[in-house]
């Protein structure tokens, strides 16, 4: 979801940075915005390369795992944090940091089977635990429309916030997207 959000956020008049320690795998090509030439590369670097090569957009890539030891160094300078992690532990790390720093933060999440997604500003965000560790996610085929719908809603919320500090939340299902 984050890769598509970055793709859609590329024309925002702000400096963009992305944090990811993971590498692009074949299974990611079905549901994430990576091209096959990026297989094996770090995801943050792959996104930086794609945005530069396709659109001449420059972003900062951080190719490390976000931890309690580096969260201040990585997020401390951000005006706005966008969180799309796939595990509760990392989400908690971000939430605790942005709350301690009173830093604006918006989260996005998706159900395992793609039936529902949310965009929530932090004061309304509830962290959901995975049912089981390593639970399968929307990595197969057929989920792109709903993933893109959540990503698009997320970036729309970024635009609203940048325009006038509005904090718009979304409920997204395969059939509807409702903001409030």
């Amino acid at each position: 979801m984050g890769s598509h959000a970055l793709f859609l956020a590329r024309d925002l008049e702000h400096n963009l940075a992305v944090i990811d320690f993971d590498r692009v795998e074949t299974k990611n090509l079905a549901s994430q915005w990576f091209v096959k030439q990026m297989l094996g590369k770090n995801k943050a670097t792959a996104l930086k390369t794609q945005l530069l090569n396709f659109y001449d957009v420059k972003i900062q890539d951080y190719t490390v795992k976000l931890t309690a030891l580096n969260v201040d160094a990585l997020l401390g300078g951000a005006d706005l944090v966008v969180e799309c992690f796939d595990n509760a532990e990392s989400r908690r790390l971000v939430q605790e940091f942005v709350r301690a720093q009173s830093k604006p933060c918006v989260h996005a999440g998706l159900a395992a089977n793609g039936e529902f997604g949310v965009v929530r500003w932090d004061n309304h965000f509830v962290i959901d635990e995975e049912d089981t560790a390593g639970q399968a996610t929307c990595e197969g085929r057929g989920f792109l429309p709903v993933i893109l719908r959540v990503s698009s809603s997320l970036v729309t919320s970024l635009q609203f916030f940048i325009d006038d500090r509005r904090q718009v939340n979304w409920n997204v299902s395969p059939r509807t997207a409702e903001s409030f």
Partner: protein, 84 residues
């Protein structure tokens, strides 16, 4: 007090306006929703609902001019993290 409840079930989504205590506990809200869907009172969601359909669901609460509740499946997944 009128409470607007947004319910999502298997990709279907609908709103249900009901007079109830917005501070009701999660189980009470889930029961109300289950009965409303079964009774066909939630446009957009077909009434065929198994018992305890919302047992593993989460309830988000938004308190503004009108209380809004969101009854939804868990959404533990994103993909990765970005900072603007």
């Amino acid at each position: 007090m009128n409470v607007l409840i947004n319910i999502t079930w298997q990709g279907q989504s609908g709103n249900y306006l009901v007079n109830m205590d917005p501070g009701s506990d999660d189980n009470t809200i889930k029961r109300v929703c289950e009965e409303a869907v079964r009774a066909g009172e939630v446009p957009g969601i077909s009434p065929g609902l198994p018992k305890n359909a919302f047992a593993n669901f989460v309830i988000d609460r938004f308190h503004g001019d009108q209380t809004r509740l969101v009854v939804r499946p868990k959404v533990p997944f994103g993909s990765w993290h970005a900072a603007v």
